[in-house]
Structures are given as C-alpha cells and as structure tokens.
Symmetry: C2
DNA sequence: TTGTATGCGTTATCAC
DNA sequence: GTGATAACGCATACAA
C-alpha cells in the first residue's frame, strides 16, 4: 500500500511552502499563474489527490448529506433517494444513505453516526417504531440541520415534505364516483393512524360530498400490506351479499393483490369492480393498466427535501431559517378507461 | 451553531491530559477504572461526540465502504445495496452510495470522490457506458480494494460477483420445454453483448440439447427494455404465420409488457403462449402469477460482494489476497402451472 | 504573491 | 497509569 502524496510532498519537490501549494490547488486568486500551473502540473504527475477527511476537519464540514430511510429496498424510498442525490450532486454534495429497517434503535445509532461524521445536514423519514424524537433534537442542538420527509413528526420545528394524502385519496375516490361507482369499498390500514387516517378521511370526504353511503362491511382494515391479505379481502368482499362495485386500495401492493383475486373469481375489472391504488410513479409501469393508480411523486419529494436541506446548510445567517412544510400534491398517473 | 465538545474540553475540566481522555474513551485496559468512569460520565454530561473525520485522518481509514451502482432506483440495485448494507452494518462499517446514472464521466468522478474520502473499499457495478477501466486501476494503485459485482470487467484483477446468466437462461428454457413448449421465441437485447449474449447462449443451448429449432423471426432484439417495446414485439410475433407457443423474455419489464399484450390480443397465458422473464426476487411479487420468473438473488449478491470487500479490507498481510470470482446461481421463484 | 505559524480533533509514541 | 508532544493532511491569519 503506497503512501498517498500530500501537498507537503509537492511543496518539497517544488521548493515552495505548503501554503502556496494549498492555494494553487484550490485556485486561489492570490497566486501567480506560473506557480499555479507548476503546482497543478506536478500534482498530476505525482498523482496527488486531496484528502477530504483533512479538508473536512479544517472546514468543519464534509460536503456530505446524510439520508435515513426505513428501507432502500422499495420503489418509493429508492425513488426519493434518487431525487435527493439528483439535487445534491449538482451542488457538489455527496449523499450518505442508511436504512433504519423500521428499527428505532438502529435509527438512533445511524443519526448519531451521521452527526459524528460531521455530515452537513440530515434528511430523514422515520421508522414505524419511532415515537420518541430526542435523537433529532440532539442533532439539532449540535447545529446540524434536519429536514423530514414523508414520515414526519409534527412536533419537531423543522422543515418537512409530505404527501397530501387527504387530497390524493379524495381525488381518487372522486375519480371512481365520476365513473359511476356507488358502492365503494375501502381496503387499508388502521383508520386511526397518520397517513392511514388521512387517506381514509379523504375517501370519506369525497363520498360525503357525493352523498354516498359506505357500508360498514365494505371497510376492511389490514395492518400488513401484502398480496395475500388483499386477496383475502376481495374474497371476503365478494362473498358479501351486497357486493361493492369499486375498491379503494390503500397501497399498490394491495391493489395488485386485489387484481389477482378478481382474476381468480372471474370478476371483470373495472366493469364489475374497479380497483384503484395509491402507488408511486414507478410501480405504475409494473401493474395492470386496468388499475387506476395514484402517484406519490417520490422522486420529486426527494428533490424538494434536498433543496430544503441545502438551503439550510448554506444559510449564511446564524438566524434560524423559517421552517417550511411542503405538502406535495398527488397525481393520477394511470386511469382505467 | 454551538462549538462541539472535544476531548480537549473534557481534559481541561478534569485536569488531566487529552491522552488520558482519549484512552478512557476508547480501549482502556491500561487505565484506572476511576478515571475511566469519571471521563465517561463527564463526556455524557457535556454531550461529547467523537469527530469521525479526525479519527479517520489519523487512522488512515474511515470505516466506510463506497458503493457505485448505475441507479438506485431499480429493484435489482436497491436489493443489492440492501444486501451490502446488511453485511457492512454488522461489521460497523457505513455505506456510502452513489449512482452513476449509466454515465461514464459521472462514474469516474464518483470513484475519485470515494477514494479522496478515504473509503476503505469500493464496490462497483459499472455503467453501460464504461469500457475504459483506468479509473479502477488508479484506485487499486492507491491501495484501495475494489470488488466488482453484476456489471463486471473480466480484465480487472479483482474479486467479482456475477450472476450465472447462461445457466439461468438455460434452466428457464428447459422449464418451458419440459412444459411441452416447442416454438419458443426470444425477446431480448443485442445478442452480441455481455449478459445479453450469455442469456441468449443459455437459451440456445437448452434448445439444441432438446433438438428444437428456433425460427429466426421468433428472435426479436430490442435494446430498450420497455413495456411498450414488449407489447410491440408480441403483436409482431402473433401476426407471424407461425405463432410461437412460448416467449423467453430477457427482463421482467418485457415479460410484464408481453403479458399485457396477450390480454389485448386475447391470448391465453400460459396455455396458448407461455411467458417467462428474468426478474429479480422482488419483482415476482408484483407480477402476474401466470408468469414464470427467474430470480437473480440481488440481495444475496450484495451480501457476497460486501463480504469479499470486508475480507480484503481486513486482510492483515500486505500480500495480495487471491481474487475470487463468485458465480451466483439463479433460481426459479415462481412457476406457472 | 509567498512564507510562517498555528490549529482542526484525534491518536501514537514516547517518556515519566 | 498518566502526561507531553508529535503527527495526520490541509487551510488560513498574519507577516513579509
């Protein structure tokens, strides 16, 4: 393992001071063209590469943005990371990604590690387990800006980017209604919690405005969003004396499972039963076009979050920046005809 | 922005030397229990956090593994990253992720950045554009271990993890043959290139062994793997006087598009036309179960790659480690009946 | 324009 | 056990 070349080596070879080399390398305007060229040339010849750790130590910043997501392994989060990276890259920031795997303990560790690595800012979408936010407050106290996205906490005084679940769900329901559907079932998570509640309220709101009643046994709660659960739900709904003519699915996986169940039962989609699903921009490609899907623009969400954190990082004042809450509208990406 | 507490601050408060504090904070078998406890306690009280940059500077290592993938935004890559992170985390390594976006220029920049950040090792899957591997050789010369995965280059003397495309394609084709299919079409990328060739050869090999001829107009090359291209291809195949009874799709996206086309044309799957696709372990969940899919175990691939790089990093000798080439078998995850 | 000196936060090598 | 002190590689205030 070769010892890396340092500015000291260059300085020695050129019989000048390290300060001059440093300046030449960083394109300082207070340096002569000649020495600058000489340094640059020798640096290339000697295969010099700056040590970013040392630079970070001195500058007290690393040009790195830390990102914490529940898992990298799902389109939604992968997309949002992609969006973050997309923005960060243009500003010469690197992105350091971690997944909490929905574990609070791991999330706390990660946030600590990121802070200790002197990342310039942290973007985080909380794990499902996270109910205590002391780790975030600690990081904020350390002067590291934090921006929340998608899985946020209203109590924290930081900028956030969230999806407009209420309006999205409402629009999707209205979409069904406008297609003449009148007995719309709901398949989703516990109605009391966060996004689940928001989407349900949106669903409910659209129905109320259209003066449509929803039958209680057309509402199915499931806490695990799996293919299989969705299939069970459809079987259950279809065995019901009053069959629905549409299903509002909370998540894309559910919608896909539902579709599959329809095939098994010989139900025509969307004529007999329309299926809609809250998906994200990419999943749409993978699923059946008889499905109406609602996009959560995750890539754009990442971009927005990244822009916010960069703004905070580069805020010259010591004054706290006003905290924004961006509510991102959802889009219908694919409509069944 | 508060100034972070350093060991110097702790030393001052306790009237001891920084060396002692450093020892107490870390190893400490040569330190008295009392001072150790005192330091630890005060550190907590003062909200001390170690500066990983400084530590990295002195240790000449960062406890970070750099990862470069074409895009984070696809299941396959997201899965492999997940696998990498899974292994790295247990060894207390962090993972720094970048996407080359299939751009050679960006890939070179990223590799340079990673090396300059003094990452302890680099895992890379090359972009499609990458034909020159000088950037890798440079990094290797700098003493930073590199492991390639999935998109590799045989010329480089480093460890690699790849998918067994030939055997996977062969097995999948044999699967079709064992189901009585005799007119099998091929839908995939340019037959001359890398994985495309390997899979095609596997396809061909299975047919040869079964003494089945494949009609030239049953082979469709498409360089862009899109839903639409697949649909076009199926329409084209089906307008052919001799219709195929099965289609070997190079990628999952193609298979899904093909399925869709079958629906439009009223083709029964898999009775009239069996569709198979090279997918990965996750996509299977999203697609129609009438599909036979071949799994590329991307998560496991990431795990393997991570294990290899960790081994190289922690190799005590200065002797070069033997370079392994792990060929990962593919699996059939879902069979159509 | 260039050089000198100092410091960033931590660890390692000596001494004591 | 503990304490000075010198690194690690780089940047900058201050002189010259």
């Amino acid at each position: 393992m070769k010892k890396p070349i340092t500015i000291k080596d260059i300085a020695k070879s050129l019989n000048i001071s390290v300060a001059t080399v440093s300046r030449a390398l960083r394109d300082s305007n207070e340096i002569s063209k000649e020495t600058k060229r000489a340094v640059l040339q020798l640096a290339k010849e000697m295969d010099y590469h700056p040590n970013l750790l040392a630079r970070g130590l001195i500058n007290r910043k690393s040009k790195i943005i830390g990102v914490v997501v529940p898992t990298i392994n799902r389109q939604f989060w992968a997309n949002s990371i992609s969006g973050i990276e997309n923005i960060a890259y243009n500003d010469d920031y690197k992105v350091m990604i971690f997944q909490s795997a929905e574990s609070f303990r791991k999330e706390v560790e990660i946030v600590e590690t990121l802070a200790n690595s002197r990342v310039d800012g942290i973007l985080i979408a909380f794990s499902k387990e996270t109910l205590d936010f002391e780790h975030i407050n600690q990081v904020l106290n350390r002067g590291i800006p934090v921006v929340l996205f998608e899985r946020v906490c209203d109590l924290l005084e930081v900028s956030k980017v969230v999806t407009d679940d209420f309006l999205g769900a409402k629009k999707m329901t209205e979409h069904l209604i406008s297609r003449g559907k009148k007995k719309i079932a709901y398949l989703g998570g516990p109605l009391t919690l966060g996004v689940c509640r928001d989407r349900y309220l949106g669903f409910e709101s659209a129905l109320k405005e259209a003066e449509i009643q929803v039958s209680p046994d057309h509402i199915i709660e499931t806490d695990e969003f799996t293919f299989e659960n969705a299939k069970k739900a459809i079987h259950q709904l279809w065995s019901n004396p009053s069959k629905p003519d549409a299903v509002f699915c909370f998540a894309d996986v559910l919608a896909i499972g539902a579709l599959d169940a329809c095939k098994e039962l010989g139900i025509k989609v969307p004529q007999q039963l329309a299926i809609t699903g809250f998906g994200n921009d990419d999943t749409g490609r993978f699923i059946n076009p008889t499905l109406t899907t609602m996009a959560q623009p995750s890539f754009e969400m990442g971009q927005l979050a990244a822009k916010l954190i960069l703004k905070e990082i580069n805020a010259t004042t010591e004054l706290p920046l006003p905290k924004l809450e961006i509510i991102q509208p959802t889009l219908i990406v694919r409509e069944s005809t």
